[in-house]
Symmetry: C2
Subunit: 193 residues, 2 copies
DNA sequence: GTGAAATTCTAGCACCGCTAGACCTTCTGT
DNA sequence: ACAGAAGGTCTAGCGGTGCTAGAATTTCAC
């Protein structure tokens, strides 16, 4: 048995190595630079081993995305814990969300922009993803007012954050006014229904 | 002279042919299907003629995007003209925006998602683009309240719309609740500052 | 009609994601 | 201890991509 478990452990380690290499390469040079050849060279194996771990490049991106969800969820939770009051909470969580997107743009792309076949608004969605949404939900709920649909309101607020960061990152919105736009979004959502 | 002008006219016609073919192919099968070979076959010329008109594939997408800006601006203007009252105007324009994004997803991608090197929030931006933003601005201004920064508020509202449509189109938000989310967004922005 | 100029095409480069089949290592049964 | 089976990894290659150099063709000016 022990020899088999060692094999399995080594294999799991190599899988993590692939994910980490893909993530670091993407963060350093963007996803366009993450080619299967390049990635194989990075982990010092040949291309086909990638396909013995993942179905294809998209599956590797999806694995990276799942790591990102966990990191985002942790960041949001931390931000929420650091403040009190509904308005402050919304501002802290919204700020943490956009800060994450700006700090880890490639990671954010894999999570929320690239067409990677991950289930989202279903129970089958990755736990880390559901947790990240839960953090947003807990920040939005106190300011939901009489809407009676905190889930939908959270989705809408999330869309606002997502729009801000994606439009900014693609050069469609100027960077320098980001904080002011975020403040406007928060004011509109914290104002009550 | 007349022979030269005929040449120039024919050349302009062929350029438009390229743009139209690219757009139709993208709308029918997505941008992944728009390869330079496929596009060349569509216009019944060889690949290199594409490069005598455009610097590369991105430039073709940019040209398609500019057409899209004009169409979007027209749609928003029409929607705004059909109603009266600030809340109704915002709902009409927001609805027209998301309807456009859902009706012409590939076009919308070229305009607002793909990294195409078009200037946005500057005077050098395409006229049609500035006009489309102007339509949004005229819809948001009446509900701006005391914010005193209608430009930034419009950008923020735009981000909300953009987030809704992109997250929905990538399967991150379920389609069926779109109208309710849009209504929530509108309510938050029409509520006054 | 002929040489010059402009235009279009053929052919190919370097790269992409992905995979079949050869190769080598490791384990198993006698 | 050793032959054969099983498993893992590699080399080499497929069909595709965006893009371009240089040949071939057409059109022009004289």
């Amino acid at each position: 048995m022990t020899i088999r478990t060692r094999r399995e452990r080594e294999r799991a380690e190599r899988e993590q190595l692939i994910i980490t290499a893909a993530r670091e390469l993407a963060e350093a040079e963007g996803w366009d630079a993450v080619t299967t050849r390049r990635l194989a060279a990075e982990i010092e194996y040949s291309q086909p081993v990638l396909y013995s771990h993942f179905k294809g490049k998209d599956a590797i991106m999806a694995a990276v995305a799942v790591e990102g969800f966990a990191e985002l969820a942790a960041g949001l939770r931390e931000a929420r814990a650091a403040v009190t009051g509904p308005r402050e909470t919304l501002a802290a969580v919204g700020g943490a969300y956009t800060a994450f997107a700006r700090r880890r743009p490639a990671l954010y792309d894999a999570m929320f922009t690239h067409h990677v076949g991950l289930p989202f608004a279903t129970p089958e969605a990755p736990a880390a993803l559901r947790e990240a949404f839960g953090e947003l939900l807990r920040a939005v709920e106190p300011v939901a007012g009489a809407d009676g649909a905190p889930d939908l309101l959270t989705e809408t607020y999330w869309a606002g954050l997502h729009g801000l960061v994606t439009l900014m990152r693609s050069g469609r919105l100027p960077e320098e006014a980001h904080e002011r736009r975020l403040a406007l979004l928060n004011a509109r959502f914290a104002g009550g229904g």
